[in-house]
């Protein structure tokens, strides 16, 4: 009985660890998509002058386009992304408030500044992803193993 419970602890611990690391995966993907969106927007502003609405519609649906759709097109200003912290959500809201609000030249400058900021956040998210992606499941596994040993 103890062995069964111990094995269950290992599985549960690993699963919880995996779930906890998921946030870092999502965050990295999010910044990746945001970086890509920002670059597409820059190109659109420079050349084809399509509206943000059209750009969002034409892009593959992901968390970023869903967020921008809600925040910009449906004007939901108090929107938060669950796997981002407070400071990151504030950053995102400031991004939403800045895009599309000025003429072409100013917009390109603003988007270039945001490109650097998003890149920094992407790099940081990538670092954390590498650090915690494996760490949490391993920790969960270890805790489960300790419980198994204690039970035995």
């Amino acid at each position: 009985m103890n062995v069964v419970f111990g094995v269950f602890s290992i599985i549960l611990g690993t699963f919880i660890g995996y779930k906890m690391s998921e946030k870092y995966v999502k965050r990295k993907c999010f910044y990746n998509d945001l970086f890509a969106f920002n670059q597409v927007l820059k190109t659109e502003v420079s050349f084809s002058h399509n509206s943000i609405k059209k750009i969002i519609k034409e892009r593959k649906t992901n968390v970023v386009t869903d967020y921008l759709n809600e925040a910009i097109l449906k004007e939901n200003t108090n929107l938060n992304v669950s796997f981002l912290n407070e400071e990151e959500n504030a950053f995102l809201q400031s991004y939403v408030k800045s895009i599309g609000k000025s003429d072409r030249e100013s917009q390109l400058e603003i988007l270039s500044v945001y490109e650097m900021k998003i890149k920094k956040k992407l790099d940081f998210a990538d670092e954390e992803f590498k650090k915690y992606k494996k760490l949490y499941p391993k920790l969960g596994f270890l805790i489960g193993l300790i419980i198994l040993v204690v039970l035995l």
Binding site: S51, K53, K101, D103
Partner: protein, 289 residues
């Protein structure tokens, strides 16, 4: 069907109570009552629609203007900047919104308009049959290069739109519409091509070469360049129907950019009666026909 989704709720709800055929413009000025204008009368707007009384009238706020700009530009000001700096933007329905505010100058050129304080929303009218007389007289038997003349708001564009439909329906002519301000967005047809939001110079040059039209229809010849373009169209053997602001034929002839040999017929609309009524038609020697 115009839904006016770009208007703030309070204004849209009020406008929904108004017969759109009754008004031609909605004017918004920050801090002042919203005015709906017909050709002859000025009305205020209240929650129930139009009124001439002072009580309960809706006043325009800066946030109303900002809301409209953000809606019409789809939160993408950069995409509309070229139009914005020309003083107007056009909605998807072809509603032209004139803009007044502070011009930002870069190297003596207007780069954009900021702090927008006034809007003039022009309600486009599509009146089928309004060009019947012009069509019967000038296009049925023979095709005349024609210039429509009237002050702003007297139906030149509406007649041009109806002419597009009629000519498309009754002749197999390739029609090229040069639509500088996007006001012809509702006009479509199997023989109709459109160049929108470009300068007339670009559209005339590019349009003739690339689309080989039989007829060019364009609104508002304003500058010398526009008239020179129109002349080159005529010299290319392409028919042209255009419009121009003016009160009378004399008024047009005296304009410094006027070129005599472009048009065969001048249609002067009556600016004293209701919009769309013809005052007189002149031939190329300015004699009434």
């Amino acid at each position: 069907m115009m839904d006016f989704l770009f208007l703030p709720d309070k204004i849209r709800n009020a406008i929904n109570n108004v017969d759109k055929l009754q008004i031609s413009e909605i004017r918004l000025r920050v801090g002042f009552p919203i005015i709906c204008q017909s050709k002859t009368k000025k009305y205020y707007l209240n929650n129930d629609g139009l009124t001439i009384l002072d009580g309960g009238i809706l006043t325009c706020l800066q946030e109303d203007i900002d809301f409209i700009i953000s809606k019409v530009t789809e939160n993408s000001l950069y995409a509309f900047n070229e139009r914005l700096k020309n003083g107007y933007i056009t909605t998807e329905d072809g509603i032209r919104i004139g803009i007044a505010g502070e011009c930002v100058l870069v190297n003596d050129n207007v780069s954009t308009i900021k702090n927008i304080t006034s809007l003039n929303i022009r309600i486009p009218n599509l009146i089928y049959g309004c060009s019947d007389i012009v069509f019967d007289l000038l296009f049925k038997k023979q095709f005349y290069n024609t210039l429509l003349i009237s002050p702003p708001g007297f139906g030149k564009t509406t007649i041009l739109k109806d002419l597009c439909f009629k000519i498309n329906k009754q002749f197999s002519k390739n029609i090229l519409i040069i639509d500088e301000r996007g006001e012809f967005s509702q006009i479509q047809g199997e023989m109709i091509d459109k160049i929108s939001y470009s300068t007339k110079y670009y559209a005339f040059c590019y349009g003739i070469r690339s689309m080989s039209p039989d007829l060019i229809i364009t609104d508002e010849l304003m500058t010398k360049e526009d008239w020179v373009c129109a002349l080159s169209v005529k010299n290319s053997g392409v028919n042209i129907i255009a419009s121009c602001h003016g009160e009378s034929i004399e008024n047009i002839i005296l304009k410094e950019f006027f070129i005599k040999d472009i048009f065969d017929r001048y249609v002067v609309l009556d600016s004293k009666k209701e919009p769309g009524k013809i005052y007189r038609i002149y031939d190329k020697n300015f004699l009434a026909v």
